[in-house]
């Protein structure tokens, strides 16, 4: 039967059963790696059309993706995916996914090959070395940036190792960022405060600011305001409220730590 009869062809079945779920997986992985919702929407739209969809209706917010694909036979299929928001920004993964999508838009891969390549990218893990080196370098550099001495930078680097350790080992066990941020801020605030009491001349404030810089949800807040201005109001509000709560938890953790150190000192 021809597509005009309204029956599904083999190619359409592959598109619906294999390609569409893979597209949602790709979109979710892109969101997790740090892409903004509009970029994901645009990419999924292009990919679907490249694979033969007559029309793509893609709706993405930070926690949910809904894609309706219109097949050449005019049949419509909708698939949704809950997106786990706890993921680390990973530029290399995002760029690899972007390249996979761009390549498929030009020349679509067979569905199983697309899925295989996606899994290879998605299963790739960021090396701990880069996470630790980046965190330590950033915290130490910011300690000097905000007026600290080289001794402060060294102390900040040691605290940086601890903060990166919490990101690597503690975060997966916390139910959300809110509780993680509070706990990480409290623990690192107490360590910095204790170091400030033990080491004369150590400027605790610049070390705390360095830690704030790495824990503060800078990407979500910036993306949230941009989403609001861009007209993605729902995404913007969700992300803004979420990231302001994270920032509040971070501030509260340090406030409690400062108060405890104040009482002890």
């Amino acid at each position: 039967m021809s597509p005009a009869d309204g029956c599904e062809t083999t190619g359409e079945e592959v598109l619906r059963r294999s390609v569409l779920p893979c597209l949602l997986d790709i979109g979710a992985a892109m969101l997790g790696a740090g892409a903004d919702v509009r970029h994901v929407e645009r990419m999924l739209d292009k990919l679907g059309r490249a694979y033969g969809a007559r029309r793509m209706d893609v709706f993405v917010i930070t926690t949910l993706m809904v894609v309706t694909i219109t097949l050449p036979s005019e049949r419509e299929h909708t698939l949704s995916r809950r997106v786990d928001s706890i993921a680390a920004t990973d530029y290399t993964k995002l760029q690899a996914l972007d390249r996979l999508c761009s390549g498929c838009c030009r020349e679509p891969l067979p569905a199983d090959e697309l899925h295989r390549r996606f899994r290879t990218i998605a299963d790739g893990r960021q090396g701990d070395g880069r996470l630790f080196a980046g965190g330590v370098l950033a915290i130490a550099a910011f300690a000097v940036f905000f007026g600290g001495s080289w001794v402060d930078a060294l102390a900040a680097a040691l605290v940086g190792v601890f903060v990166c350790y919490t990101m690597k080992c503690w975060r997966p066990f916390f139910p959300n960022y809110l509780i993680y941020n509070f706990t990480a801020a409290l623990a690192s605030g107490l360590i910095i405060g204790a170091a400030g009491l033990l080491v004369p001349g150590l400027q605790s404030s610049v070390i705390i600011i360095g830690v704030i810089m790495i824990l503060i949800p800078g990407i979500p807040i910036t993306n949230a305001i941009r989403d609001l201005i861009a007209g993605d109001t729902l995404t913007g509000i969700m992300r803004l409220v979420e990231s302001l709560l994270w920032a509040l938890a971070l501030a509260l953790g340090f406030v409690v730590a400062l108060m405890v150190v104040g009482w002890v000192g």
Partner: protein, 163 residues
């Protein structure tokens, strides 16, 4: 060394740290880190002529966003990560800390003053990237409209057979 010069120099390793943290590699990582130097340099430069923090921060954010767009084209990647790495020195960590200290000291007048400055920084950064983003979207829409067949509005013939 002058503090401003030291800050300008330290903006590079600080941004480089974030580039590593976000798992950037190679030339993209190094060039993204230079964005920190550019944004903080523009912020200091404009701060000599314009009062307050909002206007210099906005202009520095625009500069970082333009630089991020250039890198995004060069590396065929989303501009947002280049922007975030470049704009990191503008994030008001110092003001957030001072705001917290004012809260601990229950100095509420100081608290609101500092919270206001922190908010101005955040808003100026977001408005800067939004301005550049808006111009980019208009240009992209115009280009896509030129390349689209006449009468095709969202529902186009498939570009290939389903595979």
């Amino acid at each position: 060394m002058d503090l401003q010069m030291l800050q300008l120099l330290m903006a590079v390793p600080a941004s480089l740290g974030f580039a590593l943290f976000f798992n950037m590699r190679g030339a993209a990582m190094v060039l993204a880190a230079l964005g920190g130097f550019i944004s903080w340099g523009v912020f200091l430069l404009v701060g000599h002529w314009l009062p307050g923090v909002a206007a210099p921060c906005f202009i520095a954010s625009v500069a970082a966003a333009l630089y991020a767009e250039l890198l995004a084209v060069r590396f065929r990647a989303p501009s947002s990560i280049f922007f975030i790495v470049g704009v990191i020195p503008l994030i008001p960590g110092r003001y957030l800390f001072d705001t917290m200290q004012a809260a601990v000291a229950a100095d509420w007048a100081q608290f609101w003053d500092l919270a206001s400055v922190t908010g101005q920084y955040a808003l100026a950064i977001a408005l800067g990237i939004s301005a550049v983003w808006a111009v980019r979207e208009v240009v992209r829409s115009l280009r896509e409209k030129k390349g689209r067949p006449e009468g095709c509005d969202g529902e186009c013939p498939p570009t290939s057979e389903p595979r």
